[in-house]
């Protein structure tokens, strides 16, 4: 576990919708230069946790700490001005603008003109720059959203289900985009179910289940966790993921 202090801490979050308690003391952190993945079944509360952390939902209890300061009423706009970015489940794009207009808006506000051209090339967006989000595929929207992050270069990125609705051909591009941000020092938190893709990019896994969270460590450690294997990974178990995980053992050494 890194000795770096987390840039974002969501601690002891609780949230009920009507009588259903979705979250009961759930927590996660985001650390600079690391990718943290929240994994769990549908309805486990992964999206809810991200939305609470950026102020899109008010929790029943719990606290959010950003850059070492307690944030009593999180606000995405205020936290964005302090270096945070949030990409919601469908995308970060608005139907109002073409993809080009989106990228240019970010480049203008965040002085990212140089990074714009690089992002378009790395994320293979040249062909769809003049289209609006309604005319983009799922993969193009996610690549477009990642391009905004590449231009913005946030200190902390929360991205909900980056691989959802993305064709197999686009997944390596998304993965590279996330890793590039991590290499630039961004603290990245992602969610999802695509175990192969998520394990391949993650530095640490947090399992969201029964309203709470369990820190499982590195993907290799997560794949060996008995309860996680039984209740989430299923029959495939640990073997497949360890082999695909570039031969890394749970202790970080090589197989």
């Amino acid at each position: 576990m890194t000795a770096s202090r987390p840039i974002l801490e969501a601690d002891g979050l609780g949230k009920s919708f009507g009588r259903e308690a979705v979250l009961k003391s759930a927590s996660f952190t985001a650390t600079l230069g690391r990718i943290t993945t929240l994994m769990g079944r549908n309805g486990a509360g992964k999206t809810t946790m991200l939305r609470i952390a950026v102020g899109r939902l008010r929790p029943d209890y719990g606290r959010v700490v950003y850059r070492g300061a307690y944030v009593p009423r999180p606000s995405l706009a205020k936290m964005a001005r302090a270096g945070l970015m949030y990409i919601a489940q469908r995308s970060a794009l608005t139907p109002l603008l073409s993809l080009r207009a989106h990228l240019e808006a970010f480049a203008r506000v965040y002085d990212g003109q140089e990074r714009l051209a690089e992002a378009v090339e790395e994320l293979r967006l040249a062909e769809c720059m003049d289209r609006r989000p309604g005319a983009l595929s799922g993969g193009e929207k996610q690549r477009g959203s990642l391009a905004l992050a590449a231009i913005r270069c946030p200190e902390c990125l929360l991205m909900d289900e980056p691989f959802a609705g993305v064709a197999p051909l686009d997944r390596p591009t998304i993965a590279r985009g996330l890793q590039r941000l991590k290499e630039r020092g961004t603290a990245v938190v992602i969610t999802g179910h695509d175990v192969d893709d998520l394990f391949a990019v993650s530095d640490e896994v947090i399992w969201v289940t029964a309203g709470t969270t369990h820190w499982l460590g590195h993907p290799g450690q997560a794949a060996l966790h008995d309860q996680f294997r039984r209740e989430y990974l299923g029959p495939r178990g640990a073997g497949g993921y360890l082999r695909r995980d570039h031969g890394r053992r749970s202790d970080g050494g090589s197989i």
């Binding site: 964005a80 949030y86 608005t94 506000v109 913005r152």
Partner: protein, 94 residues
């Protein structure tokens, strides 16, 4: 204030919100006519402008445009205000 200034630097979004504010105002004024409020007094005008601001904000939230704008540091209040210039002018002039 910073958020509003950032919004002003985005002409497409700014113009879209201006237009929406105007269209919402027209709708509210038509509805007011149906309840025989043809010439609103000061308080009624204030309520109309408040409703315009709220509807413009809620509409942006419904479309999830507010997430894009929030990532640019533009808060919901700035979105609501961006819909007001034309209705404010019209309420003043009429």
């Amino acid at each position: 204030m910073t958020g509003l200034l950032r919004l002003l630097r985005l002409p497409s979004v700014r113009n879209a919100l201006l237009l929406r504010g105007f269209l919402v105002w027209v709708g509210i004024r038509v509805a007011a006519l149906r309840v025989r409020i043809a010439d609103p007094n000061f308080l009624q005008s204030a309520w109309i402008l408040g409703a315009v601001a709220l509807i413009v904000f809620l509409d942006a939230r419904r479309r999830e445009e507010d997430v894009f704008l929030a990532n640019l540091g533009v808060p919901g209040g700035a979105i609501a205000i961006a819909g007001l210039p034309i209705p404010l002018l019209l309420e003043t002039v009429l």
